[in-house]
């Protein structure tokens, strides 16, 4: 099955003599093209799951498949290649390169992958075409996050992973960003995984995974998700 699949995945961190189980034997599958919300309080393990999916971290147990490729068995180089070609990542704090303009930040990603999207086209998609010559420091938080999304999208990735993408934004801007992600998922048929602690966003997901203390509390498939634009919280 295409999409994302986790089988008995665990991630333990050893801090001195203490073993911390950030993710404890979880399994789930997200079909391709689904808008997925991972919900949970701080320390629930949701970011760890996202990092494992993004090839930024490896599980200490279990298997992870993305589009039928077992990424949990990848070595460092393969993981880099995987991040390069298959993953788009959106951070809470944008992480745009401060010395590059918005357009150049997008080029930074598109120049290293096989089938990148046209930079200008992506910038138009996220509504940043007129700000493309600006440096990140000259953009607002919302614009910077749009830039980050454009950078992730330009790679034409299989999966778009977003870690608290609205965490640093106000309500209106945050809603606009989520709407953008939602629309992109619908238009491009790509799998989008959004990690958030905001339970109010649950109705928008095709798939909603609730996590608690490193385990899956619930896994819900929502046949009629509410468009972000219609949601108030």
């Amino acid at each position: 099955m295409s999409g994302v699949r986790l089988e008995h995945v665990s991630r333990e961190y050893i801090m001195g003599k203490t073993v911390i189980k950030a993710v404890d034997d979880i399994s789930f599958a997200i079909p391709e093209g689904k808008y997925t919300i991972i919900l949970g309080a701080s320390g629930a393990g949701k970011s760890t799951v996202l990092n494992i999916l993004g090839g930024m971290d490896s599980p200490t147990g279990g298997k992870v498949f993305v589009n039928e490729k077992e990424i949990s068995s990848f070595n460092k180089r393969q993981l880099t290649q995987y991040r390069r070609e298959s993953i788009g990542f959106v951070f809470q704090f944008y992480n745009l390169m401060p010395n590059l303009t918005v357009e150049e930040n997008v080029e930074l990603a598109s120049q290293i992958c096989k089938n990148p999207l046209d930079t200008r086209q992506v910038l138009r998609m996220v509504g940043l075409d007129d700000r493309r010559r600006n440096f990140p420091a000259q953009c607002s938080g919302g614009e910077q996050q749009r830039g980050a999304i454009a950078r992730a999208l330009a790679k034409n990735p299989d999966v778009l992973l977003c870690d608290e993408p609205t965490g640093a934004l106000d309500y209106v801007t945050g809603k606009a960003i989520l709407a953008l992600l939602y629309d992109l998922c619908r238009q491009s048929k790509k799998t989008v995984v959004v990690v958030t602690h905001n339970g109010a966003l649950a109705p928008t997901g095709d798939v909603v995974i609730r996590m608690k203390s490193g385990k899956i509390e619930s896994f819900t498939e929502n046949p009629n998700p509410t468009p972000v634009q219609e949601l108030e919280w």
Binding site: M56, R84, N99, E104, I112, C113, F135
Partner: protein
């Protein structure tokens, strides 16, 4: 709790603090080490001179007696007088083993340092230089037979003691230009032993000790008036090469010893300021938090000053302790050939104090300045990232066609490189300084090599240098020029004279040379035979400066035993000559007698010539060209050793500076690097993007370092007055210095490259900018 945070903070900043500590340590090592050389040589020689009551002046003359001594001792400022007979001696059965023989009535002045036995107590005893005695297998109680050179008198004396003499510290004479302690020594005997030569209580030398503050000119005038024509020469301790050699070697090094530490400290200050600046600037968020929590500015200031203090505490003591070993190594090197009693190298605590003050000033001062400026901001301002500067486009971007043609990587590198101008400037200046240091060390070495080569190839084109007796007749000179195999001969006469200007006076050696000198050019860099001016004398540059005269001025000369004054024009001032030179024609035109003291010969048949020379009684001794050149080169090698040590330190400093700058840049950009990793950049691509910047800085620094190095080299070479060095810039020196600096830069890049593997992507991206 703030102090707990301090210690945790240290872990984070450890690598940067350690690298600055190492830079500080190097600066302190160089400063205390090199200052320690001056301090220790002064100490060792000061003690040696004081303990052995070494003379301040040697008055050489004829017919000196006890009345003269009494008259001298009554002069103001004179603290001790000792007459003596000084003669040349040789082993009765091997004329190659030579000695300077001192016949003394007592040992009040120039007391020998006793290694074994005691000083002579009767006219049957002899005290020998220890290494000479050991080489001849002589032990206490043995009888030793010597011949007084040129006099044919044989002596048989019993060895009562062996030792060393500060007067024969660097035991050389005309025939032994470099010390060979096993074949050329000294001996002390009772004056009675030599009474037959000059007559009872008749002497040819008086040693004098004076009060420290007695002016040399006043002493000379007084002696001249008292002894009149009996005086042939008055030699001060500082002009007595065998006794003053080590002090002179130290003095030769003084410009280097002052210049390099200053440069090293400047470099350390630059690094210290930039590191502390960045360290504290990067902690602006923490400072804001402390302020917001209600900590006093003074507490926060102390918090950051402690970082700087730590650098002083780590860097200073290690540097200061190591400095002693550098001093020891260099003193040991420059004392090569010196016959010294055992000595100990000690710490130069005055230099410690100065270095500690300088280090504290640099480290704490820079930390204080940076922290103060940040503390003036409000907590809210501190907690916000520093606002970006307006000018964000680089010049190249404005050249549209060129900018558009550049690849993405090139654009990224150019932007990153030029955006932070302070960082760029610090890196380039730091590397340029280091490059200049390394270059200078190579360039000085080249200048010295050029001087050695010039000495060997130009100055000395003769085969044999012959020392002549005084009072040789013209006919005897002719026998030299017609000796077997001789193809060319040039004579030279060396005498001493007073030089007067309106308000200055100095004594110097006056060399009377052939009108055209071709066999022993005294300008080591001159390619053509040198013609001495007919209308005046050639004056050594230092002497001219001391007298305050320039080319075209006049000086007045007076010779010992001749009450007339001779006024001559200074026709040329030259930094390569020693003392003053006049041509034979000019000398004769003054009505002065020409009595050569040396002859330079070229020969087709050296063996035949040497055999003839041995037969001539007017020949005191002779040396071949290699021996003379080797002696000059040996002396210079002492300075080379110091230069080598500086190369090592300059290189070390360069390495640390480049590392420090690289690592700081790395830490500042760790977030960007982590982002690149997340985006899927491979390690080598990230390294290429990141490390290219370091390489660009290194190349720029190296390029700027070349003119800086040339300028510094020129300054230093011209300030080393003891040797007539010329500024020699060879492509080899430039290439080597560039190579060394770039090798350091590449090495550091490798280290930083390895560090990149350790980047924790998640950790780096979690923190807020």
């Amino acid at each position: 709790m703030i102090w707990k945070n301090f210690f945790r903070d240290l872990r984070r900043t450890a690598s940067r603090l350690i690298s600055v500590s190492i830079i500080t340590m190097i600066a302190v090592v160089v400063y205390t080490g090199l200052s320690g050389i001056i301090y220790n040589v002064d100490l060792v020689m000061g003690d040696y001179y004081a303990t052995q009551n070494t003379a301040d002046y040697w008055i050489t003359g004829t017919g000196l007696d006890m009345t003269d001594c009494r008259d001298l001792s009554e002069l103001e400022g004179i603290t001790g007088v000792q007459p003596r007979v000084v003669l040349d001696g040789e082993d009765r059965y091997d004329s190659g083993l030579t000695l300077t023989l001192y016949g003394v009535p007592d040992f009040s002045i120039n007391t020998p340092y006793i290694v074994e036995g005691r000083l002579p107590q009767s006219s049957r005893e002899i005290f020998l230089s220890d290494q000479y005695a050991a080489a001849q297998g002589l032990e206490l109680g043995d009888w030793y037979e010597i011949t007084l050179t040129g006099l044919g008198i044989h002596l048989r004396l019993q060895v009562c003691g062996t030792g060393k003499d500060p007067e024969c510290l660097y035991n050389v004479n005309a025939t032994n230009p470099s010390p060979d302690l096993s074949r050329f020594g000294f001996a002390y005997v009772d004056e009675e032993v030599l009474a037959d030569v000059l007559g009872p209580h008749r002497y040819n030398q008086i040693c004098v000790t004076t009060e420290e503050d007695l002016p040399a000119a006043a002493f000379r005038t007084a002696v001249d008036e008292e002894l009149g024509s009996k005086v042939v020469n008055i030699l001060a301790l500082k002009d007595n090469q065998p006794a003053y050699s080590l002090m002179e070697a130290k003095n030769n090094l003084t410009p280097i010893l002052t210049f390099f530490p200053t440069l090293f400290f400047l470099c350390a200050v630059l690094m210290m300021v930039s590191t502390m600046n960045r360290l504290i600037e990067n902690a602006r968020m923490d400072i804001g938090t402390f302020k917001a929590l209600g900590y006093y500015d003074s507490t926060i200031l102390v918090y950051y000053l402690l970082h700087a203090l730590l650098v002083v505490v780590i860097g200073f003591p290690i540097g200061a302790v190591l400095g002693k070993y550098i001093s020891a190594l260099i003193v040991w090197t420059i004392a090569t050939g010196c016959d010294l009693p055992p000595y100990t190298i000690v710490h130069d605590f005055a230099a410690w104090g100065q270095a500690a003050g300088l280090t504290a000033l640099c480290c704490l001062g820079s930390a204080w300045l940076v922290a103060r400026s940040l503390l003036k901001e409000s907590p809210a301002q501190c907690m916000r990232p520093k606002p970006p500067k307006n000018a964000k486009t680089v010049l190249l971007e404005r050249i549209g066609p060129l900018w558009r043609r550049l690849g993405f990587n090139a654009k990224y590198i150019i932007r990153n490189t030029f955006r932070n101008k302070v960082r760029m400037l610090t890196c380039v200046v730091g590397i340029a300084f280091c490059m200049a240091l390394v270059f200078m060390a190579f360039a000085i070495k080249d200048s010295m090599d050029a001087y050695s080569d010039a000495l060997a190839q130009n100055q000395n084109s003769y085969d044999v240098m012959v020392d002549l007796n005084t009072g040789v007749t013209e006919g005897q000179y002719n026998r030299l020029t017609t000796a077997p195999g001789v193809t060319a001969a040039e004579l030279e006469m060396v005498t001493t004279c007073w030089l007067y200007t309106f308000d200055q006076r100095s004594t110097t050696t006056l060399t009377v040379s052939e009108d055209t000198v071709s066999l022993h050019l005294y300008d080591p860099y001159a390619d053509a035979p040198l013609a001495l001016p007919e209308d005046g004398l050639v004056l050594e540059q230092l002497l001219a400066e001391e007298l305050g005269v320039e080319e075209g001025d006049t000086v007045t000369l007076r010779f010992t035993g001749d009450n007339r004054y001779y006024t001559l024009k200074v026709a040329q001032v030259n930094r390569c000559v020693s003392g003053a030179y006049v041509s034979r024609s000019l000398w004769r035109s003054l009505g002065k007698a020409y009595t050569p003291t040396a002859a330079y010969l070229t020969t087709r048949d050296p063996v035949a010539l040497e055999t003839s020379l041995d037969r001539y009684d007017f020949v005191d001794g002779w040396q071949d060209r290699e021996t003379v050149t080797r002696a000059a080169v040996d002396k210079m090698n002492n300075t080379s050793m110091v230069v080598y040590i500086l190369i090592v330190f300059g290189g070390g400093l360069a390495c640390i500076v480049i590392y420090n700058l690289g690592i700081m840049s790395f830490f500042e950009q760790i977030r960007s690097l982590a982002t690149l990793m997340v985006l899927g950049f491979h390690d080598r691509e990230i390294k290429r993007l990141q490390l290219s910047e370091n390489l660009i800085f290194a190349v720029a620094g190296v390029l700027c370092g070349i003119p800086l190095g040339i300028a510094l080299d020129r300054f230093l070479i011209l300030s080393i007055t003891a040797m007539p060095l010329q500024v020699v810039i060879t492509p080899r020196a430039v290439g080597l210095a560039c190579g060394v600096t770039m090798a350091f830069a590449l090495g550091v890049n490798r280290i930083i490259g390895r560090k990149m593997r350790e980047i924790d992507m998640l950790g780096a991206l979690k923190s807020v900018e």
